[in-house]
């Protein structure tokens, strides 16, 4: 996760480098560390370093990492010849390396040559069957070709072995949501919450899936999770505030006939409504009337 201070530092370096100041190498290192996707900038500044003999020799052994980074960026920007040159140089320096093999596979992928990329990855997997990145590339290929069910199958097989990889769980959850398989998505989000219980987006996503599934029990659990998102994010998550209001309305509609716990946690709902109003007043005052009318409707519907 990118911390706020590091993101700010990256922005600052970016503007500095764009406007002709120095610091391109630090910028590239920071982008690499934070795994941010700024391919056009990386390509521009990386190439400027690589094409300059003096700057390149100053890097020493790090120049190969820079080649790799520029190759990635070039593939992202569809500059295939640049990527090809970088990969050729790298493979001359490090023959028969799995990391370079991955780059070649990715180049084929980015050109759309799925079958050849598949062959390259199969060959690499023969050498090292437990390479996580190659497995993930295969999933990415399936997803890029639009074959979501194959992606799901591959991801499930991957997760059977590497079941502690929370990024894979998140990817699987998102694919399930796009396929509208909400129960399975809920399971994946539970895994995410188990591995990172204090990260608010996980709770939020789980709450949304539960809300989508519907049904009284799910709605109540969803409300719990919206509340936990608010607790973990200090009350600043607008979507969770909306979620609380909507859940309360839906629950009230479902329990209309029964006179169960009336005043259970309606505090939370009124607080959420108030927080929303204040938020809109501060940040988007022209949309405030819509919010007020919506809140009025929700209260009337009870």
């Amino acid at each position: 996760m990118v911390g706020a201070s590091e993101a700010a530092q990256m922005e600052r370096l970016e503007s500095q480098v764009d406007n002709g100041g120095g610091g391109a190498w630090e910028y590239l290192c920071l982008v690499r560390k934070l795994k941010a996707r700024r391919s056009d900038k990386v390509l521009k500044h990386g190439l400027s370093i690589l094409n300059d003999h003096r700057a390149r020799s100053k890097l020493g052994a790090e120049e190969w990492t820079l080649y790799e980074q520029v190759a990635f960026a070039a593939m992202d920007c569809q500059q295939y010849d640049v990527a090809n040159d970088c990969i050729a140089l790298l493979s001359k320096q490090f023959p028969r390396s799995i990391r370079i093999g991955r780059l070649e596979g990715m180049l084929l992928e980015s050109k759309g040559a799925w079958a050849e990329a598949e062959k390259v990855y199969a060959r690499l997997l023969d050498d090292s069957p437990l390479d996580q990145i190659i497995h993930k590339r295969k999933v990415a290929m399936a997803k890029a070709q639009g074959d979501l069910s194959a992606a799901v199958k591959l991801l499930n097989k991957y997760l059977e072995i590497f079941m502690a990889d929370h990024d894979a769980w998140r990817e699987l959850a998102e694919i399930y949501v796009s396929l509208q398989m909400y129960k399975q998505a809920a399971f994946c989000y539970e895994e995410l919450i188990l591995s990172q219980p204090t990260v608010p987006p996980n709770h939020l996503a789980y709450a949304e899936v539960l809300y989508t599934l519907g049904g009284l029990e799910n709605l109540q659990t969803a409300k719990n999770y919206y509340a936990s998102t608010i607790a973990l994010s200090g009350g600043k998550n607008t979507r969770a505030l909306y979620g609380i209001c909507l859940c309360s309305v839906a629950i009230r509609q479902l329990t209309k006939g029964r006179n169960k716990e009336e005043k259970e946690v309606s505090d939370l709902q009124t607080l959420a409504a108030e927080a929303l109003q204040r938020d809109y007043k501060q940040r988007a005052p022209n949309k405030l009337p819509f919010l007020l009318s919506m809140l009025k409707n929700m209260k009337l519907n009870s």
Partner: protein, 246 residues
């Protein structure tokens, strides 16, 4: 008798400093030799999978309060089920781990290499210290000690009346042995700061014994009670919002 002995500064120049320098150099040498000799270990599928299972089971144990009770129960059965639960190790397989460790030639060679690279320099240095640097007082420890340490710290000094704070060079050797980790982390980079103590601990542990850890995790999950933490979080949400709105 608590009289102050005056120690020659030549001791510091010719004993303490060279001993430290030699130990640092040996540590650095050992690091480079181990880098050269390290063979690439192909990870075994089973071992990797078991490691991941343990991580996942541990996550479940730690964060059990964050998921609904029903999900927790289904996961608990999934892990600890008697027939095909992930963590269940049939009795016969449990003892094989150690035997397997010895029969697999790669693992045995690796362990031997690691042990050798540690034992030999230690033995040699210790013998060298004993041979050259024994029989005199090398240093004074700044705090007083009881008589029981005499045997350990004053091995070459055969006077029983000397204060226990005056130690021989063997104790300086041990001090360096345990204390050079900080220096190594500066010289060799953070992750290579392996002191001899850590290596000794690694040597005594028999590598990764998966069946025992699986059993331990299974017991952990069996014991745990599901403590649904969300209502408390809801209360905290209310408080957070109240504070925000103030």
């Amino acid at each position: 008798m608590a009289e102050d002995l005056v120690l020659d500064t030549a001791i510091r120049d010719w004993v303490l400093v060279p001993l430290s320098v030699v130990m640092v150099l040996i540590g650095v040498l050992r690091y480079f030799v181990s880098k050269l000799m390290r063979s690439h270990q192909v990870p075994d599928l089973k071992v990797v999978k078991e490691g991941q299972v343990i991580l996942r089971a541990r996550n479940l144990r730690v964060a059990a309060g964050f998921i609904p009770a029903k999900s927790f129960r289904s996961r608990k059965t999934y892990f600890t089920n008697e027939e095909n639960g992930l963590l269940h190790v049939p009795k016969g397989q449990a003892q094989n781990a150690q035997a397997q460790m010895f029969s697999d030639p790669n693992l045995a060679m690796d362990m031997m290499k690691k042990n050798l690279s540690m034992i030999i320099p230690q033995t040699l240095t210790f013998a060298w210290v004993n041979f050259f640097f024994s029989g005199f007082v090398a240093a004074k420890i700044p705090f007083p000690l009881t008589q029981r340490f005499r045997g350990m710290l004053q091995n070459g000094i055969d006077l029983s009346t000397v204060d226990v704070s005056y130690v021989s060079s063997r104790s300086w050797y041990f001090l360096n042995l345990f204390g050079l980790r900080g220096l190594f982390s500066l010289i060799l980079g953070e992750e290579n700061a392996m002191d001899d103590t850590q290596r000794m601990m690694q040597m005594s542990g028999f590598g990764f014994d998966p069946s025992k850890s699986l059993g331990a995790e299974k017991d952990g999950i069996d014991i745990i009670q599901h403590d649904w933490a969300l209502p408390k979080l809801e209360k905290r949400a209310e408080d957070a919002l109240k504070k925000l709105l103030k």
